[in-house]
Amino acid sequence: MEPFFSKTTQVAKARLLKMHFNANAGHVGGNLSCLDGMLVLFHHIFKEGDRFVLSKGHSAGALYSTLWSLGKLSDDQLATFCKDDSKLPGHPSGTGIPGLMFPTGSLGHGPSLSAGLALAAKKQKSGRNVYCLCSDGEWQEGSCWEALIFSVHHNLDNLTILIDQNKLQGFGTTDQVISCGDLQPRLSAFGANVLSCDGHDHDAILRALESATNRPKIILLNTVKGRGTLYENKMESHYLPLTLENYEFSMAQIQKEGAL
């Protein structure tokens, strides 16, 4: 991927950190782990009319930052993140944000909503594609598997589900809490076209998104929670906001990469 996009990514990441620090908002780790995937999707794949569902609603900050990087949200709007009288709460409300279709935040809803959107797109012969971003822990929800069965049965090849596989959830690692083992064969066994890639490698993400499919596609993004912060790959990055020390450290990491 061209250097320009690396700079876009770093600027968006810095904006995400600033937004979370100013709001003293948590869920920083899960936002950082999925930001690369979301940026590649929206900057390089997403076309007008396509649909996106943020099933892991706790990564609202990554979505807002991505929309900001596209010029669809302003600095003034981001300044209201997690404040009173805001359209940008910590989990998306589903209203007042361009392209955001549903309120999310309770896990396990996005795949079914996306399946409905994808089925409608097929019935309407619209050519629309539907993208859904889940967390890995989210696949402990039975409703995700209900949606997958439905999507495969109806051959929703216009549906792509990205799973942010950072392997940390609210109170332990995904293996410690309630292990699904290796998700790839399990998802494949349900009939999905399952791909896996480094979730921070833009070229790899792009290749996975662009690959042809005749079935619902699932991309496992292997990611690092809280990447580039002091609580990288630590449980603390799930809920805790950024301390000043952590914020300054994280911003300095980005500056070292020369983007700011």
């Binding site: 549903f102 396990g108 079914s112 909503l113 409608a120 797109a121 019935k123 209900e146």
Partner: protein, 296 residues
């Protein structure tokens, strides 16, 4: 009433904007609906949470969706999907719950729907409880947001005419107070009281939609200072009786008497037919007759 519902759906099927989803329920009832809707009829399998999410996705893209199941499986299992996916966005999805109240009788308590109207009302869902078969055609004609349609059995005496559909309507006149019945219990009341003298029976009102906004002004006028008898096959909590009592307080209306009969759950710890459970709750025909035989 399920057959009447199917007939109404078949008549509506020519609208290409309608979709019909079931969760593998409807054998020997929905076959004609399936045929009429063609590829707009989807059996989504035994997966109620997914049913609601998919229905919401379809509705978001401009379709009007009927989502059908046995009532408790539809409103209780996927309650959060109804709340988050449908209600927050006010999407046009009509949840069709077959077997309101104790209608599934011998099938046991998991199949009964006794708190559905309260649960759906709390979410702002429009709650529709048809009393008679011919109500279905009118009820499904138009819905613009979340709706819950509770199906039961038309219980009126065979061949009895009823006024054309209205959310609240007087279906039997009388002078001994007002009897308000939710949905099919209006038919039970008609059967119980039809042979009473005019002076000794109450006026029977059939209520087919919850919510204060659909109550006709005539009712508020007549209930002031009158004896009110309220029957619903639903728990008291959040049901028609409590909702109406709240309205009375707000409006400063005081009936002379407020007798409320409602579902009691399973007070004896035993189970049976719909009629058996109605009798335990004083909601059956004989109990209603006895009430007015003994009411001066």
């Amino acid at each position: 009433m399920r057959k009447a519902f199917a007939k109404a759906m078949v008549e509506a099927a020519s609208d290409p904007n309608l979709f019909f989803f079931t969760v593998d329920v409807g054998f020997m009832a929905l076959e004609e609906v399936r045929e009429a809707f063609g590829d707009r009829f989807v059996n989504a399998g035994v997966a109620e949470q997914n049913l609601i999410g998919v229905s919401a996705g379809m509705a978001k893209e401009g379709y009007k969706v009927f989502s059908y199941s046995i009532a408790p499986f539809l409103y209780a299992r996927p309650f959060e999907q109804i709340r988050n996916d449908i209600c927050f966005s006010k999407l046009p999805v009509c949840l069709v719950g077959n077997g309101g109240g104790y209608a599934y009788g011998h099938m046991g308590p998991t199949h009964h729907a006794l708190e559905d109207c309260a649960a759906m009302s709390a979410l702002g869902v429009r709650v529709l409880v048809p009393a008679f078969d011919e109500d279905l055609g009118e009820i499904i004609k138009d819905f613009a947001g979340p709706a819950y349609l509770r199906l039961g059995y038309d219980a009126r005496p065979a061949g009895s005419p009823v006024p054309s559909y209205s959310p609240w309507r007087k279906v039997l006149d009388g002078q001994n107070g007002l009897l308000v019945a939710l949905g099919p219990l209006a038919g039970v009341a008609m059967a119980a009281l039809a042979d009473f003298e005019f002076e000794k029976r109450p006026a029977v009102w059939a209520v087919c939609e919850m919510g204060e906004g659909v109550v006709p002004p005539e009712f508020w006028e007549k209930v002031r200072g009158a004896n009110l008898y309220l029957f619903e096959e639903h728990m008291a909590e959040g049901g028609l009786g409590m909702q109406l009592a709240y309205s009375f307080l707000k409006k400063g209306i005081q009936p002379a008497r407020f007798l409320h009969r409602h579902a009691l759950g399973y007070p004896s710890g035993t189970y049976g037919s719909q009629e058996y459970h109605r009798k335990q709750c004083g909601l059956d025909r004989e109990s209603i007759r006895n009430l007015f035989l003994n009411t001066p």
